[in-house]
Amino acid sequence: MQNRRDFLNLLCRGTLLTGLAAASGVLVYRSVKGGQCKLGTSCNNCQKSDSCNLPEADLFRQTVWQLDPKKCIQCGRCAENCVMTPSAVKATHVYAMCGYCDLCGGYLKPDTKTISTAAENQLCPTSAIKRKFVEDPFYQYTIDEALCIGCAKCVKGCSAFGNGSLQLQVRHDRCKNCNQCSIARNCPSEAFSRVPANKPYLLQGIESKDENRG
C-alpha cells in the first residue's frame, strides 16, 4: 500500500516536472531561435548585439514600457492611470526639433490675446513649462519634471500648432516598470508597448539613445 502510494506520487511528480520542463523549454527555445539575425548568428553569442538595430536583437532581454508618440492622441489618461501619483509619464522636450517660437503652441493657450507668462495664459495646469529668453526672437522651453503630471495638454498644443517637439514619454527614473502597465490597458490608441531595456525611449526626432550619446 505504502509502496503503491509512493509510486503514484513519483509518477505524478515526474509528469509535472516534465510538463514544466517542456513549457520552459519551448519558451527558451523560442527566444533563442527568435534572437537570430539574417547572418545566422545567435544574438546571445553576438558581440555587437548591444548596438544592433534589428528587431531580432531585442529578444531575450528585459523589457520596459514605453509609449509611441506617433500613436498617442494626447487623451490625458496618462496623467490619471499610472500607479504612481504624479504619473511616471511626463512631457519630454526634444530640443533638436523645437522652433524656439515666441508664440509657442505648447506653452500658451490658443486663444490668448497677449503673449505673457501669466499663469492664466499657460496651457500647463501646473506651470511646469519654464520659458527662457535666448535671443531675439527665440525662447527656450524646459519641462520641470517635478511639476509635470503628464496630462498631454502641451503635447497636444505643440503637435497641433508647432513642430511636435514636446512628446510624452515614460520616464524610466520614475517608472516602476509594472508587469502590466496600468496606463497601457487604458490607452485608447494602443500607444504603449514593451520595448527592449537597452533602447527605452521612442522619441521622434531622436533616433535612439545610443545615437544621442554619439
Binding site: R61, Q62, K71, I73, Q204
Partner: protein, 421 residues
C-alpha cells in the same frame, strides 16, 4: 450597401484629415547667433539589467535556505526571519515586481502569443518555486513569498473555519486562476497584477481602492490567517497540487506521532489533518456506489460548466479593448452632440480599416467562446473534485499536515513534545 459604402468613405476621408501631424517641421530650426548651446534631451536609464540576475539569485538562495530550515533545522524562528527578509527584499525593495503569482500571466501570454518573448526572470520566478515545491513542499509560501510574509505577520487571533467552509472557499482561487489565464492568453489584461492587494503598500503609493483592499485583507487576516493565500492566490493552486506530490514534506513530529493532541490547534491555517478513526467502516458496496456516482457526476459537471461558460463568453469578452472598439464603432452615442470617445478618435487617426477592426474583434470573440467552454469545464471539474473530496473520507491515524494546504510555516513543530531520536 450604399449606406455602408458612404460610411466607409466618410471614415476614410476623416482619417486622412486627422492623420498624425508629427514630422511636420512647421517652423524652421533656428540659427542661433549668441552662441547658445541646445540642451540635451535627458533620457534616464531604467533599472540595470544585471539587477534582474540578482533577483533570481536571491530567489534561489532564499528558497534553498527556507527549505533547509523547514526540513533539516525544523526551525520556526529561522523561517520567520527569512520571511521578514523576503518581505523587505521582494516586497519593499523590489516593490512586489517581479513576482511568482503574476508570472503565471507572463508564461501564459508567452505560450499563446509567439510575438511576446518572456523575460528570463519572469520565467524563472514561475518555474523555480514550483520545482522546489515538488521536492520540499510549499517552502516558497513559508518564507519567500512577500504576500505570505505580510499576512503571516498579522495572524494574531486565527479562528478555525472548519473543513467544509475551507473546502468551499478554496474553490475561489481556481476561478481566479482560470480567469487570469483566459485574460492573459487573449492578451486582454493581467488581472492578477490589476487586483494585487499589497503592491501599493510596498511602493508607498496606493490608489484608494487598492488601499482599502489591502486594509480589508490585513484586518481580516488577524482572524482568518492568510486570507489571500488560502482563498484567492491563483499561484497557490499550482503550489497546492505540486506539494501534494512532493518528494519530502514538513512533518510535525520528528519521529512517531504519540497522539498527544498538543499540535491540534497550533496551525493558524487549518492545515493539520486530524486522525480519522471510522466507527463503522463503510462496506465495499457503498464505496463502489459512491465511486460510480462520482464517475458519472464529474463529466456531467464538466459539460454543464462548459455550457454555462460558453453562454457567458460575450460578457467575458466585454472588457477586451478590440471588442470594445468594435462595439463603439457599431453603436455610436445616440446624442450627436456628445464628443467622440477617445477610442474612436484614436481609431480614426490610426487610419485603420473598419473591416480590420471588426475582423479582429470577431476573432477575439471566437477565442473567448472557446475560452468560455474551457474555463467553464475546468470549473466543473473543480466542483466535481470538491464534491468528491467531501464525500470520500480518507483514513489515517496520526496528526499530519495536509500536504496541499500546509504552507510549511513550521509553527506546529514547536508544539510537538517528541524530540529527535
Amino acid at each position: 450597401m450604399k449606406k455602408a459604402l458612404a460610411l466607409v468613405l466618410l471614415v476614410f476621408l476623416f482619417a486622412v484629415q486627422v492623420m498624425n501631424s508629427y514630422g511636420i517641421q512647421r517652423f524652421p530650426k533656428p540659427e542661433f547667433e549668441s552662441g547658445y548651446v541646445q540642451p540635451e534631451t535627458l533620457m534616464p536609464d531604467p533599472r540595470a539589467e544585471v539587477l534582474a540576475i540578482m533577483d533570481i539569485a536571491v530567489l534561489l538562495v532564499s528558497l534553498s535556505v527556507v527549505s533547509w530550515l523547514v526540513l533539516k533545522k525544523r526551525s520556526r524562528n529561522g523561517v520567520f526571519w527569512m520571511s521578514l527578509f523576503s518581505l523587505a527584499y521582494f516586497g519593499f525593495y523590489r516593490e512586489g515586481c517581479v513576482c511568482a503569482i503574476g508570472s503565471i500571466q507572463n508564461v501564459t501570454l508567452a505560450l499563446f502569443d509567439t510575438s511576446y518573448i518572456i523575460p528570463l526572470s519572469a520565467l524563472i520566478f514561475f518555474v523555480t518555486p514550483l520545482v522546489y515545491t515538488l521536492f520540499f513542499g510549499r517552502t516558497f509560501c513559508a518564507g519567500v513569498c512577500p504576500f505570505g510574509a505580510m499576512q503571516d505577520l498579522v495572524a494574531f487571533r486565527p479562528q478555525k473555519l472548519g473543513s467544509k467552509l475551507n473546502a468551499v472557499l478554496g474553490v475561489i482561487p481556481y476561478l481566479y486562476l482560470g480567469l487570469a489565464v483566459l485574460y492573459a492568453a487573449t492578451g486582454t489584461d493581467f488581472i492578477i497584477c490589476r487586483y494585487d492587494p499589497f503592491v501599493g503598500i510596498w511602493r508607498l503609493n496606493a490608489s484608494f481602492g487598492m488601499f482599502v483592499f489591502a486594509g480589508i485583507l490585513l484586518i481580516l487576516g488577524i482572524f482568518i490567517a492568510r486570507p489571500y493565500c488560502r482563498f484567492l492566490c491563483p499561484y497557490g493552486v499550482l503550489l497546492n497540487w505540486s506539494s501534494r506530490f512532493s518528494r519530502r514534506h514538513l512533518t510535525i513530529t520528528p519521529s512517531d506521532c504519540i497522539q498527544c493532541r498538543l499540535c491540534e490547534n497550533s496551525c493558524p491555517y487549518d492545515a493539520i489533518d486530524i486522525p480519522v478513526t471510522v466507527k463503522n467502516p463503510e462496506d465495499k458496496r457503498t464505496m463502489a456506489r459512491k465511486l460510480i456516482f462520482i464517475i458519472i457526476l464529474i463529466p456531467v459537471l464538466i459539460f454543464a460548466g462548459g455550457w454555462t461558460g460558453s453562454r457567458l463568453y460575450e460578457s467575458l469578452a466585454g472588457v477586451n479593448a478590440k471588442v470594445q472598439l468594435a462595439k463603439q464603432i457599431v453603436s455610436p452615442p445616440k446624442d450627436s452632440n456628445q464628443p467622440e470617445t477617445f477610442e474612436i478618435q484614436a481609431f480614426k487617426s490610426s487610419g485603420k480599416q473598419q473591416s480590420l477592426a471588426f475582423a479582429e474583434a470577431s476573432a477575439m470573440l471566437g477565442k473567448f467562446y472557446l475560452g468560455g467552454w474551457l474555463l467553464g469545464g475546468f470549473m466543473g471539474l473543480v466542483f466535481g473534485g470538491l464534491i468528491a473530496g467531501l464525500m470520500i473520507t480518507k483514513h489515517h491515524t496520526d496528526y499530519i499536515p495536509n500536504k496541499g494546504t500546509c504552507f510549511s510555516c513550521a509553527r506546529c513543530i514547536d508544539y510537538c513534545p517528541v524530540k529527535m531520536p
